[in-house]
């Protein structure tokens, strides 16, 4: 897997706008009649300046344009942001620059311009390969558009990935097997396969509460997960993270930075960051979520920071375990102690390691602590067992 430099920094850029709001989505995304591109471009660049000043001389190993729907950005804005990052920090020649795109034809029309701007990896929100399911998910595209967008991405970008949402209400094991096989045939080294999560505050939540939709229960969801891992493995994709599958050397370098608990800066509304600086130590950073609030703040004071909270060593340890145990590779214990100042035994509940180890949920080979396949399936409970 791609190794990263010690001082390497990942930069996340959030574009908070979508054409419509999907009924399952609780991301920081908003529908607006019009967006003033030039104004947003200026603000994003200003905020880059702000964070770059606090972390001078760092090497940026990856940039990720997430959303919302970043494929709605003006390509000039994408180009300006990439350029600014290169100017204020230093951008690795081999930096991974990903942009999330929705597969409607209008957006596909901009792929070439994004490539031109410097984007070298596209992540397409395909979500499903069947029109009924896409309709149910409230998507703007149909299956044909998704295929066309994938074909285009293959021609334009050196690397691309796409997302599917499965474990949808009424989805049978057979149907998913079929859909996934088709998808894997179209993939180019990387896919993200997410089980549908019903989030509080979304229309799906209300519909589930009212009994209108019935997402799979625990047993069926577990079966679907097993099927997914088995099919992906057969096609040469390993589950390097709970919902992310890649062929060797295709893992997303940017997302690995999160899971390995390396530093990342968050630019744009609602973006999160974790940064260590000589001046402030390790901090948890969060920007104003509402687009207008963020925009006005940046224009007034040069940044949209809503929270910058120092992280205690125990908090860092918790976060590092929460993120790292999602990875197949687990956590490097030398790096863990270097990063948090704590040994593993100091960071977790006494006895938990032995118990979870004996129960076949954790494995510990002296160098790395990792959750077993069984352990990763129940990671939330496993974590609460480790800490509480």
């Amino acid at each position: 897997m791609a190794e990263t430099r010690k001082d390497s920094l990942a930069v996340y850029v959030h574009w908070p706008f979508c054409l419509s709001k999907c009924p399952y989505c609780d991301f920081n995304s908003h529908v607006r009649d019009s967006v003033d591109d030039a104004r947003w471009r200026r603000a994003l660049c200003l905020e880059i300046d702000y964070w770059a000043e606090q972390t001078p001389g760092r090497h940026v190993g990856s940039i990720f344009f997430g959303g919302g729907t970043p494929s709605l950005m003006a390509p000039e804005t994408v180009a300006a942001v990439i350029e600014r990052i290169g100017m204020k920090w230093s951008l690795d020649a081999a930096a991974e620059i990903t942009l999330e795109a929705n597969p409607t034809s209008a957006e596909a029309a901009r792929f070439a311009a994004f490539r031109e701007a410097g984007v070298n990896r596209l992540s397409l929100g395909v979500q499903a390969l069947d029109d009924t399911a896409l309709k149910f998910l409230g998507r703007q595209h149909d299956a044909n558009e998704a295929r066309a967008a994938l074909d285009l991405a293959r021609r334009i970008f050196p690397r691309f990935s796409f997302d599917l949402i499965y474990a949808r209400p009424e989805q049978s094991a057979a149907a998913w097997r079929q859909e996934l096989s088709t998808a894997l045939d179209m993939a180019a080294g990387h896919v993200s396969l997410y089980q549908l999560t019903i989030e509080k505050g979304t229309p799906f939540y209300t519909r589930q509460r009212d009994g209108e939709i019935n997402p799979p229960g625990e047993a069926h969801a577990a079966d679907l997960f097993d099927i997914t891992n088995a099919l992906a493995a057969t096609a040469g994709y390993s589950a390097y993270e709970i919902s992310n599958y890649a062929k060797p050397a295709h893992a997303s370098r940017h997302n690995l930075a999160y899971w390995r608990y390396q530093d990342y800066a968050g630019i744009g509304p609602g973006a999160h960051g974790r940064l260590r600086t000589a001046e402030n130590g390790a901090r948890a950073l969060r920007q104003h979520a509402k687009p207008e609030t963020w925009l006005e703040a940046v224009e007034r004071v040069g940044h949209g920071s809503a929270e910058a909270r120092p992280l205690e060593p125990t908090e860092q340890a918790e976060e590092m375990l929460m993120m790292g145990l999602r990875l197949h590779e687990g956590i490097n214990l030398v790096f863990f102690t270097e990063r948090t100042g704590l040994t593993l035994e100091q960071a977790i509940r006494p006895g938990a390691l032995t118990r979870l180890g004996d129960g076949g949920l954790l494995s510990h080979d002296g160098q790395n602590l990792r959750a077993t396949d069984k352990g990763r399936n129940v990671l939330n409970s496993l974590l609460s067992e480790l800490f509480a």
């Binding site: 709970i242 919902s243 999160y258 999160h272 918790e318 929460m322 993120m323 399936n377 129940v378 939330n380």
Partner: protein, 600 residues
């Protein structure tokens, strides 16, 4: 200090919901005790829990002024009593303060179990009883038929029963006149040394401990030193007053009067209901007969859901017991539930009400163990002791005999439901002692083990009779029985607070049912959980909760670690409400399972 001849003291008694408190409302209104705007319905039910459930829990007294047909103004002291069987102790106490009773019977329902029980208490107490037929505003009321039924079933003269509607007020004026004409005036000697009955005591936020008294002889006034004859303590009277229903300070209370006093008493436990007050300077020779103390019959453990709340629970119990001297508590430690209290109650409703008041008035989250009764145990060493907690039951080889409490139950039920009711009593190890009819209603008497009644008897009786059966009981001695302790083991470790004492013949079925119920209530965990029921050392039932298969957040996006931390913190908080048992987390709802088991 009213002329004895112008006083009438009466209690309103009835089966639950037959309209006692509503009748009291109308009387207060007619006599001008409260202005219209001050009236609420069932104004005497002042506790939130009484108002919400629409039932009276605590007896209340009001002094009314009524101008009778003879042109004279009489003082009427009204005592509104609770109807539910758990609170019949309140009724007996109230009756001791009065010379007569209004027996209210719902004319749409007729005589029910507590109509009978309370009417007998009144007759036994030497009361003049005036039957009142209530709810005649309803189309389904059958006053004539019910009047006859009172004669047939209760066995008192109902010729002059008064038809009324407590709701509209129709006939209530006539009731007031009848009280004056038909009830005897109290007797007493104004010149004799003070002799007054301590009827009740409670804690008032503003006035401290208040004591309800009925004066027999002599006077109670501010400043005098009184002696409580039973306890032997002395106190200076600070205030003397009556309820109108508002507190109203008066000069003195004389013979035949009912009112309250306060006397710098800190704790309700310093007052024993039934005790006699006399004046320290000039003492009466003989105390009043008083009454038997109330005995708790149902016990359960109460534990704070969050173990940090133990001290708060202790304080809250102390405060609550100031207003309810009939429940008992002592500290208890359970391996599964930590520190808590074993509490004794007058019955299941009483238990439920105390628990609810603790949760609401004191904002506590509680775990209650299954209710149990008091067993008499004799060991092979011939030691005898009372067993209040099934967890304390010694090893079976050390037990020579166990006696359990029995009750005598009277059940009134329409003919068509008699079959199922008899079957239920039979299943509950009952012995039928009598069966009579009043028209199409049957009156059955059964002897039953109390342990079966606290389990799920009442709920099932209600459901098999569609709510038409009514039920009254009193304790009827102890009897040896073949009882065993049914224990629950989670992953091989006994969970003390889930153990219960059951009859040998029912133990296995009960054990199986409880294991099944627990299986549903214990959430899947990282590892599988074995639930076993055992009698002595022998496992009689077993269920397994299989290990959790999937519990992981699929998407984790944009580096939002904070959000995942929130999830983790939520889980940590949730854990505080679980009981860690060995390696198994048991939600506190599971402990209620034993209690609720009979419901489906």
């Amino acid at each position: 200090m009213t002329d004895l001849a112008l006083i009438r003291n009466f209690a309103i008694i009835a089966h639950i919901d037959h309209g006692k408190s509503t009748l009291a409302d109308r009387m207060i209104e007619i006599c001008g005790g409260l202005q219209k705007r001050e009236m609420t319905s069932q104004v005497l039910d002042s506790m939130d829990i009484e108002r919400e459930r629409g039932i009276t829990i605590k007896a209340q007294t009001v002094r009314l002024k009524h101008k009778a047909k003879d042109g004279k103004t009489y003082t009427l002291n009204l005592v509104d009593t609770p109807g539910h069987v758990d609170f019949s102790y309140e009724v007996s106490r109230s009756l001791a303060a009065c010379e007569g009773s209004l027996l209210v019977v719902d004319a749409t329902q007729g005589v029910e179990a507590q109509t009978l029980a309370n009417a007998y208490l009144a007759v036994d107490g030497g009361h003049e009883v005036i039957p009142v037929l209530n709810k005649i505003d309803l189309a389904s009321a059958e006053p004539e038929r019910i009047q006859q039924q009172i004669e047939d079933v209760v066995g008192i003269d109902a010729t002059d029963a008064l038809p009324i509607s407590a709701k509209t007020g129709e006939g209530v004026k006539e009731v007031l006149d009848a009280l004056v004409e038909r009830l005897p005036a109290p007797e007493g000697d104004a010149d004799a040394p003070l002799k007054a009955l301590l009827v009740d005591s409670w804690y008032d936020q503003y006035l401290g401990v208040m004591i309800l008294v009925r004066v027999q002889d002599g006077y109670l006034r501010k400043g005098i030193k009184v002696r409580m004859m039973g306890l032997g303590s002395t106190h200076d009277i600070e205030r003397v007053g009556v309820f109108t229903p508002k507190n109203e300070i008066v000069e003195a209370l004389g013979p035949g009067e009912i009112g309250f006093i306060t006397a710098s008493i800190k704790d309700v436990s310093e007052c024993e209901v039934g005790d006699t007050f006399t004046e320290e300077r000039r003492q009466t020779a003989e105390p009043l007969p008083g009454f038997k103390p109330s005995v708790p019959v149902v016990f359960c453990g109460l534990f704070p859901a969050d173990s940090d709340d133990f001290e708060r629970l202790r304080e809250s119990l102390a405060k609550l017991s100031l207003n309810d001297s009939s429940f008992h508590y002592e500290a208890e430690t359970s391996a599964a539930l930590g520190m808590g209290f074993r509490c004794g109650f007058l019955g299941l409703l009483h238990l439920e009400i105390v628990e609810e008041r603790l949760e609401r008035e004191f904002d506590l989250d509680l775990v209650a163990t299954a209710p149990s009764v008091v067993y008499h145990l004799r060991t092979t060493q011939d030691e005898e002791f009372d067993l209040h907690n099934p967890a304390d039951m010694p090893d079976p080889t050390k037990i020579r005999a166990i006696d359990e409490p029995w009750i005598k139950a009277s059940i009134m039920v329409p003919d068509e439901y008699l079959g199922p009711v008899l079957a239920l009593c039979q299943e509950k190890r009952g012995e039928q002692t009598d069966l009579t009819y009043a028209g199409s209603r049957a009156l059955v008497t059964y002897r039953l083990p109390l342990n079966e009644v606290v389990f799920d008897f009442y709920d099932r009786l209600k459901s098999i009779s569609r709510g038409y059966a009514s039920f009254d009981y009193h304790l009827d001695g102890y009897q040896e029985s073949n009882l065993v302790k049914l224990g629950i083991l989670i992953n091989g470790e006994p969970v003390d607070s889930l153990s219960m004492v059951v009859h040998r013949d029912q133990a296995e079925a009960r054990g199986r049912a409880l294991c099944l119920r627990l299986k549903d209530l214990i959430p899947r965990q990282l590892f599988k959980v074995a639930i076993q029921a055992a009698i002595g050392g022998k496992v009689v039932a077993r269920e397994t909760v299989s290990a959790m298969r999937k519990d992981v957040t699929a998407k984790c996006y944009g580096g939002d670690v904070s959000r995942k931390r929130k999830l983790l913190d939520r889980q940590k908080r949730g854990k505080k409400r679980m009981r860690q048992f060995g390696n198994v987390e048991i939600p506190h709802e599971a402990f209620l399972a034993a209690l609720k088991m009979g419901e489906d």
